[in-house]
């Protein structure tokens, strides 16, 4: 059973009717019914297309958080051969919110690191809803340094509401861990492509998204703080998340315009959750394209261009 978002109601109704008719047509398979189904399907597709081309920032936020949206593991399954997860920060613990490991992407070795949100209650708890603790970021640093040492390109897959705000996380230096991870990204002498697949929330995202090339899925969001946290800071009222999402320009389109991201990866009509396989495939093609642009660049050039890109960010902006 599909989870429909509130603004998808017209589509939900149409698809409900289609399912009913289909159930009927099983017995009688009348031409009239199949004709009606066809018409309804066209209508549903059109409605979906319309809805999804005009998504508002808050609606995109909901799509970005859709429970059926492909997560880190789906990208690993679809894009990475021989994925070999590597655990632990060698200092304190293993953090399941961030997964990392070696694998092969289109034949070549890669280090893949990213947040996993989980897809049912049990796995969500195990992955702490994709909210990493310091150990997660320290593991990311360890794996990035490992990749750097062996000239293995890095792919990061970003999907987090933010780093975990808890007592233990603070005790063990959440901010230092995030700062060091960003620092590590900026020091890498290997090509690094980051892909934001759902939520790119705050410092917890930047920590692994400070890449040569930053890509965003069409309906993902990238924010200074989650819309709820932003609303709570701005208005002391986290229920105004919708206003915050709107005011803070969190969509891929906005961020491309501001020069914060390099490219947008289109999603299938109706969002990634309607066709995860296609989404993953498109993402893979986009990542490969970005790696191709960095082919043959020396480690120093990769570092220099990456730093220059971030330093230039925001210095001149398109007039809106």
């Amino acid at each position: 059973m599909r989870t429909y978002l509130d603004f998808e109601k017209p589509v939900a109704e149409l698809e409900g009717k289609i399912a009913e008719l289909r159930a009927l047509s099983d017995d009688e398979s009348s031409a009239a019914i199949s004709e009606e189904v066809k018409q309804l399907e066209e209508k549903a597709a059109k409605s979906l297309q319309e809805i999804y081309t005009n998504l508002k920032p808050w609606q995109k936020t909901q799509v970005a958080r859709h429970p059926e949206r492909p997560h880190f593991s789906d990208y690993i399954d679809g894009l990475i051969a021989e994925f070999t997860p590597l655990a632990g920060d060698r200092k304190f613990a293993e953090d399941h919110a961030i997964i990392g490991g070696l694998g092969r992407f289109k034949g070549g070795s890669v280090m893949v690191i990213g947040q996993e949100k989980g897809n049912d209650t049990q796995s969500r708890l195990r992955h702490n809803f994709g909210m990493a603790r310091p150990e997660g970021y320290r593991k990311a640093v360890r794996l990035m340094e490992l990749a750097d040492k062996f000239a293995v390109p890095v792919i990061t897959i970003v999907d987090t509401a933010g780093a975990y705000p808890g007592i233990g996380a603070e005790e063990r230096g959440q901010s230092e861990a995030i700062a060091r991870s960003t620092d590590c990204c900026l020091a890498l002498g290997v090509p690094h492509v980051a892909l934001i697949i759902g939520e790119g929330g705050s410092g917890g995202a930047v920590a692994i998204a400070t890449a040569n090339k930053v890509l965003m899925l069409e309906h993902s969001i990238y924010t200074v703080a989650s819309p709820e946290a932003s609303a709570s800071i701005l208005w002391r009222d986290s229920t105004r998340a919708e206003d915050a999402a709107t005011a803070m320009k969190v969509t891929a389109k906005h961020l491309k315009k501001l020069g914060v991201i390099d490219a947008i990866v289109d999603e299938p009509v109706g969002g990634a959750h309607r066709n995860p396989a296609e989404t993953v495939k498109l993402a893979g093609e986009a990542i490969a394209r970005e790696f191709a642009t960095m082919d043959g660049l020396a480690p120093d050039d990769l570092r220099k261009t990456r730093r220059a890109k971030f330093l230039d960010m925001g210095r001149s902006l398109p007039s809106t």
């Binding site: 705000p165 603070e170 700062a179 620092d183 900026l186 925001g314």
Partner: protein
Amino acid sequence: MNWIKNVVRPKIRGLLAKRELPDNMWVKCPETGQMVFHRDLEANQFVIPGSDFHMRVDATTRFKLLFDDGEYETIDVPEVPVDPLKFRDERRYTERLKEARAKTGMDDAVLVGHGKLDGLAIVSAVQDFAFLGGSLGMAAGEALITGMRAAVEKASPFILFAAAGGARMQEGILSLMQMPRTTVAVQELREAKLPYIVVLTHPTTGGVTASYAMLGDVHVAEPGALIGFAGPRVIEQTIREKLPEGFQRSEYLLEHGMVDIVVHRHDLRDTLSGIARMLMHAPALPKAKKRESAPKPEEAAPDPEAAAEPVPGQPVADQTEPSN
């Protein structure tokens, strides 16, 4: 120090719930409620005598306390695009900026300057909490980058006084991007092998802590400063339990290995000078010389009669700020 400026009161006082500098003659210790005569407070480097509570100081005061004879030159910061998101909530962001500028006399939250510390050339930057909570936006980020690069150019140590609630929400993602941007500048300092000393002051949280403020060679903290990633309110809401006593305070971070040293403001200058000199291989100072160049508290010392009058705990409410 110029107390005249405090006579000119901005009209929008009501919004500025917490001001560390009083317009009035008396300051109340936020911890003990003790009343302190403002000139006593100033003479004591804005540390409440008795309770030792460290009040916030503004950026220029910070520089005056740091540099020899309180003398320094400010470093100009390149202009950045203003209000990139055309942000407004109840009011326009540009209005809030204008108001903060009028209130603090600063262009944005970070002041950059250079001068001498016990004769050693130093570049420093201060985040002023009075300017929109010291928040890290494009201008503040640019100021930090400018400061760190000036230190590289002058081959000087860089001392940062951090204080901020976090990112400048009104600049959205471009505020977040100051985390990697400032980190690039920290790397430039590191590559030039110049000391980067961070002084964590009350409060330093959010994206500021999660980037340049936790990347120092040496982390010094003022006593009792709130330092952390997530604010206490957010953590309490997430875990739904009371936070332990002293959680996220300087002393707590010291115990958990996140800061090197907690230093009373009276000793801060000497500590910074000592660390910078040792890392730069500058010769040790004779003790007397150190005192000579330090700002003289006597200059700002209050009229003894006025200072002697108030007794801590005595009601002097009629002389104090009504609402602060």
